[in-house]
Amino acid sequence: MSNRVLPLRDALREAIQEEMQRDETVFLMGEEVAEYDGAYKVSKGLLQEFGPKRVIDTPIAELGFAGIGVGAAMNGLRPIVEFMTWNFAVLAFDQIVNNAAKTLSQSAGQFRCPIVFRGPSGSAGQLAQQHSQMFESWMSNVPGLKVISCIDPADAKGLLKSAIRDNDPICFMESELMYAHTGEVPEGEYLVPIGKAVVRRAGSDVTLVTFNKMILPTLEAADLLAQEGISAEVIDLRTIRPLDHQTIVESVKKTNRIIVVDESWPFASVASEIAYEVQKYAFDYLDAPVTRVNSADTSLPYAPTLVEAYLPNAGKIVKAVKSVLYAKA
């Protein structure tokens, strides 16, 4: 098995393609996924390979096609439903939350709903209020759903393949800005287990936990801190629900300090949940309060100055780290 350098979009496509080759019941549907090759070209060439029965362009009707996915999943298929972005999946939350997540419980285990809802989540430059939202914490609030959020191409391939094979409904979150982001990706069969975080960089002074594209400013901050002799351990969650609190807690037991870098809004965010877990399971190890760097507690406007003020960045992360180290900024 050899590795190649691939952009995120190709890694995702490879996962879909391999799973569609492996399993006849897997199909892809969404807006512009077939003839246009996907709004972000994730599904390029899949229509040619699998034909219109399995690669399906839908009208702009998120609630309807998400529900069709749920019904198909209850009746033996394995749909991959692409949302052009998760902002538009809001229209389909009834089907995701009230149905996909509830089917197993409501039917007392008689009906499964093995479906993957996927698309980009989070901000993507100056796209303004309605097109910039992060949905990881929203979806993670719902029992019955599993939530994956990653941008590393190898992880994306391995996790998407696992997600397609999983028998529970999965929300899979990518990033518009990261589809061209490259990394080494194993060829052929490659599975990454759902629910396992990964340590991207080992360190001893502070733990930085993050996910999705915030891994980039977080690693940048770790570099900046290293120049000042501060050693940061960086954890990439990859799966949000179930949360791998073991990896986080183990790291905190070593570093005694933790910053969560989370593009979600602060209230009831992924960071809030991690803060709970850490104070509960590593209380005696903490030398400083669990601290978070979230997006601002506001809608995201268009102007570049406001985008800059809104988003977490390396500077804000470094500042937070210094606060928990009680060091001068």
Partner: protein, 341 residues
């Protein structure tokens, strides 16, 4: 796209005043030049994010505005620069908004998709496809509730016509006889998807018929036909008879947004629409019927060119919003306790 039932007006006899023709000409030219400049500024990265231009569809904005009242409301989607200009937002404040400047029509907070103007009864550009259909219905609901004579023009694209929100709104608007004029701007495509590929019902105006809503197709490449249909509809609505639905058949010359190369359609198709260009049609109409002279049109062209040039300078010279603006306009409560860490 289907052109078989185009109700295009063939008569050369002009039925509108000189003032109306010149108003149309000026507005359509303002929109066209504004959009051309916006694309150029996008190329120079002065404008970022999504940018969906209205080039080709100008007659729709023009024909609506001349047929409704200033007090009437309009709400539409993200392809909205032309609608805002039609409402009376200035090129200065619109260009500044695209630049993300504090002098923009929404202080640089909305960008290309979200202009709003309470002053001009413009309820905004909506970025979620179809979301404005129930919202426009609700704006109309409020007008009826308050007992005014106003209506709400609720505009959306052919792609949006496939959202469930349309069917729910049509039903309630008819059941409650709301003063709403639904206008679908059928430009043939929703991103790369032609109308034909989204449904077996491609004559969009017929969607109103299952609710017994008066519905008709309209040639959207000519402000005359748009005006006439909107006038008819407005009269019906103001008489208290409830909603009306127009399928305005138009075309976007450019890709869906700046990043779309529009490979899903032929050059010939695009050219065939450019031959029916609304600005050219109106210009020919004005000159052939001697409604105004070439000099008068020239003067308008010069005025618009200066207006657009000035708008770019205005935008360039305006400041970006201060970062503290992030915390304004989230709540009406002045001392709202934000989470700050």
């Amino acid at each position: 796209m289907t052109t078989t039932t185009q109700s295009r007006k063939k008569s050369s006899k002009s039925t509108f005043s000189k003032e109306t023709y010149l108003h149309w000409y000026e507005l359509m030219l303002r929109i066209r030049r504004f959009e051309e400049r916006a694309l150029m500024m996008y190329g120079q990265e002065k404008i970022r994010g999504f940018c969906h231009v209205y080039i080709g569809q100008e007659a729709v904005a023009a024909g609506i505005e001349s047929a409704i009242r200033r007090e009437d409301a309009i709400v539409t989607a993200y392809r909205q620069h032309g609608i805002a200009l039609g409402r009376g937002c200035t090129a200065d404040e619109c260009m500044a908004e695209l630049f993300g400047k504090a002098t923009g029509v929404v202080k640089g907070k909305g960008g290309s998709m979200h202009f709003f103007s309470a002053q001009h009864r413009y309820f905004g550009g909506n970025g979620i496809v179809g979301a404005q259909i129930p919202i426009g219905t609700g704006i109309a609901f409020a007008e009826k509730y308050k007992g005014t004579d106003n209506l709400c023009v609720t505009m959306f694209g052919d792609g949006a016509a496939r959202q469930g929100a349309l069917y729910e709104s049509f039903n309630m608007a008819m059941a409650w006889k709301l003063p709403v004029l639904y206008i679908v701007e059928n430009n043939g495509y929703a991103m790369g998807t032609s109308v034909q590929r989204t449904s077996n019902v491609t004559e969009l105006y017929t969607l109103g018929e299952s609710f017994d809503m008066p519905s008709e197709p309209v040639d959207g490449m000519n402000p005359e036909s748009v005006h006439e249909a909107v006038s008819r509809a407005a009269e019906h609505i103001r008489a208290g008879k409830g909603p009306y639905f127009l399928e305005v058949r138009t075309y976007r010359y450019k890709g869906h947004s700046v990043s779309d190369p529009a490979k899903y359609r032929t050059k010939e198709e695009v050219e065939s629409y450019k031959e029916r260009d609304p600005i050219k049609i109106t210009e020919n109409n004005i000159l052939q019927n001697k409604i105004a002279t070439e000099e008068e049109l020239k003067a308008i062209q010069v005025k618009i060119k200066k207006e657009i040039d000035d708008s770019v300078k205005f935008a360039e010279n305006s400041p970006y919003p201060d970062p503290s603006e992030l915390w304004t306009d989230n709540y009406t409560q002045e001392d709202y306790p934000f989470i700050l860490d």
